[in-house]
């Protein structure tokens, strides 16, 4: 492999290398073209439509009998940037963003703390490790909407959770976990944590298992305490995996929909109305497609920025990791 590559690099104009490069290029576009066409076929009209509806106030109720594009055109009225201005003045939207951020941050941290804690307790072999592992990944294998409804069976006023709490505390507890404004979002957050702790758990388990043993052994021979080894050797080495667990979970939690919608439809009041739920309500309950489109555009830009930031950090970690593992940098082009 290496010999061949050196050869190619030394004689770049050689016919063989050039034809090989052409072959790779042809292969690249054979593979990518269908994918790019499919993306263009779905995403371009979608983005165009979104743009149209956010600049033209469309009313589903004034749609005529005509079919096709013309019906949308005739039921729409140019409003320019008015809808976007409205979006930025919308207090309900602001509250939804705050709720989404709180929800995502809380559930991300919760998942991470529980998942990492369990992984630290479990990564060294012990009796029953395999069995615990199997049980601990189960929540991740459960369909979110199933978790939402099973959660309701357990959390409702006469449900088993209140009964268990009552028995433990000796008082009669009849908490309304889901239908009280103050705690509804927290309750959903705990469902999310229950659902996705396994995600952090498996990632941290794999990360801990993959740590090189030598630095830890060396440190412990030199007399470092367990704590010190954890803080100064294990934790820094785990940084990429930790970033991974936090960033992926945060992004997924920002988009969370089945639990918030399926269980409470944004209620009670608007206590669990996160950004996805608000867009959903605007578009599919109020049928305000234009305002929904403007909202979506703003959220799209916001989310793309957040996702790109997350991706930037992940990529940086990956690069550092690659640099660390391959002292000799690999062939890159």
């Amino acid at each position: 492999m290496t010999a061949e590559n050196t050869l190619e690099r030394n004689i770049p104009e050689s016919g063989r290398a050039a034809s090989r490069a052409r072959g790779i290029k042809r292969f690249k576009w054979t593979v990518l073209t269908p994918f790019l066409l499919l993306m263009a076929f779905i995403l371009v009209p979608a983005l165009f439509g979104q743009g149209f509806f956010s600049l033209f106030q469309f009313s589903i109720f004034s749609m005529g009998d005509e079919s096709g594009w013309r019906s949308y055109w005739h039921a729409s009225e140019w409003v320019g940037l008015e809808l976007f201005i409205e979006v930025f003045r919308d207090e309900r939207f602001g509250a939804a963003i705050i709720r989404s951020l709180l929800f995502a941050t809380g559930s991300t941290l919760g998942c991470f703390i529980f998942g990492f804690g369990l992984a630290l307790l479990m990564y060294r072999p012990f009796r029953g490790q395999g069995l615990y592992y199997i049980f601990f990944i189960l929540p991740m294998l459960t369909v979110p909407i199933v978790i939402a409804y099973t959660g309701e069976m357990i959390l409702y006023q006469n449900g088993p959770l209140n009964d268990i709490l009552s028995r433990i505390s000796g008082m009669e507890i009849k908490a309304q976990f889901l239908y009280k404004k103050e705690i509804a979002l927290t309750t959903i957050m705990f469902l999310e944590i229950w659902n996705w702790t396994p995600f952090s758990f498996i990632i941290m388990m794999a990360g801990l298992a993959a740590l090189p043993k030598e630095p830890q052994e060396a440190a412990s021979i030199l007399g470092a305490s367990k704590w010190r080894i954890f803080w100064e050797i294990q934790l820094p080495l785990l940084r990429p995996v930790i970033m991974l667990a936090l960033i992926l979970r945060f992004l997924e939690a920002m988009a969370e929909f089945p639990k918030t919608w399926g269980l409470l439809q944004g209620g009670p009041g608007s206590a669990t109305e996160t950004v996805p739920v608000y867009i959903f309500i605007t578009t599919w309950q109020y049928f305000d497609i234009s305002y929904g489109a403007a909202l979506s555009y703003v959220v799209l830009v916001m989310m793309v920025a957040i996702v790109l930031t997350g991706i930037y950090f992940l990529q940086r970690e990956k690069k550092n990791l690659d640099a660390m593992y391959f002292a000799k940098p690999q062939e890159s082009k």
């Binding site: 690249k28 779905i42 990944i137 369909v143 997924e252 990956k318």
Partner: protein
């Protein structure tokens, strides 16, 4: 008093088992409750104090949900309308779970097959010829990470125009696109591990690139591709939002079917929901346990090294 090393170890071991067992209960209880409720007769769904293990187990919930058997008597503990003395409506099943099961299987199966098929070829190109830079590979993740809710309204109008709304094809296309990033990354992690000597041998013997892919590379990573397939299957099987908004009546999937019980105005029918939930969950649990060793790889983008 200082503890000896072995005492310390023992304490740690006890504490560890205690904590793990508490978490085990937290994990297992909802599962237990779901399965338990599915065997409970109607009157025990809401009783206070709650019934933990029913003394009158019944298969009626399963019969009603999955076999559409509607005969139901007062003796079975059915809800009786207090005014009329009749059986209330929601003891009947109006749903079509088998159709939903069929749709879910076809949609998730097709989309996943396509994603793994296409993703593994792309992954081969990235792994061997760097046809996408690492930056592009990470940007691919946007397809998955930008919430679909922001584009779903225009997509659904566009789908209506071109006749893809409420069709299997429509959902398969979107599931394919959203699961592609994971498919590429995960199959790449397997392909990266395969030594290149065999391919080079094939190339020297004059095999074309496609033939090398078909007959050398993909067979070598077959088990990895199966793991990738099952991993993506978990994601597509549980998808809810797209299925809810892009299907009306014809292509209901299982998660949407389940949510119809919640939407019913006649009150909660926990036993039926549980019976359906068990059916939705069992295949996933099987799939997940088969690939439990590879789960971390699916999410780790080559950042967990062995």
């Amino acid at each position: 008093m200082a503890m000896t090393l072995s005492q310390k170890r023992q304490t740690f071991s006890v504490v560890r088992y205690a904590i793990l067992t508490v978490w085990l209960c937290i994990v297992a209880f909802p599962m237990f409750w779901m399965v338990g409720t599915s065997f409970k007769p109607d009157r025990e769904w809401f009783s206070w104090p709650p019934v933990y293990i029913t003394e009158n187990p019944t298969l009626r919930n399963y019969a009603i949900v999955w076999a559409n058997i509607n005969e139901y008597t007062k003796a079975d503990g059915a809800h009786i309308d207090p005014k009329t003395g009749e059986l209330s409506q929601y003891t009947q099943s109006l749903q079509r779970p088998w159709t939903a099961l069929r749709n879910s299987s076809i949609i998730a199966g097709l989309a996943t097959t396509l994603a793994v098929f296409f993703g593994s070829i792309l992954a081969y190109g990235v792994s061997r010829h760097q046809i996408l830079s690492e930056g592009r590979m990470f940007q691919l993740l946007m397809l998955r990470m930008v919430p679909p809710i922001v584009l779903i309204a225009p997509i659904s109008l566009w789908y209506r125009q071109i006749g893809l709304l409420d069709t299997i094809t429509g959902l398969v296309i979107l599931y394919f696109l959203t699961s592609l990033p994971y498919a590429v990354w995960m199959s790449k992690s397997f392909i990266d591990e395969v030594p290149r000597e065999m391919e080079q041998a094939a190339e020297i013997l004059g095999a074309s690139r496609w033939r090398t892919i078909w007959e050398v590379v993909l067979p070598l990573v077959r088990s990895g591709l199966v793991a990738t397939f099952l991993f993506i299957l978990i994601l597509t099987w549980s998808e809810y939002l797209l299925a809810l908004l892009l299907s009306k009546a014809d292509v209901l999937t299982l998660p949407v079917e389940l949510s119809k019980y919640q939407g019913s105005t006649e009150g909660r029918v926990y036993g039926r929901q549980a019976a359906l939930s068990v059916g939705i969950t069992i295949p996933l649990v099987f799939v997940g346990l088969i690939i439990r060793k590879h789960l971390a790889r699916g999410f780790s983008f080559g950042m967990v090294r062995r």
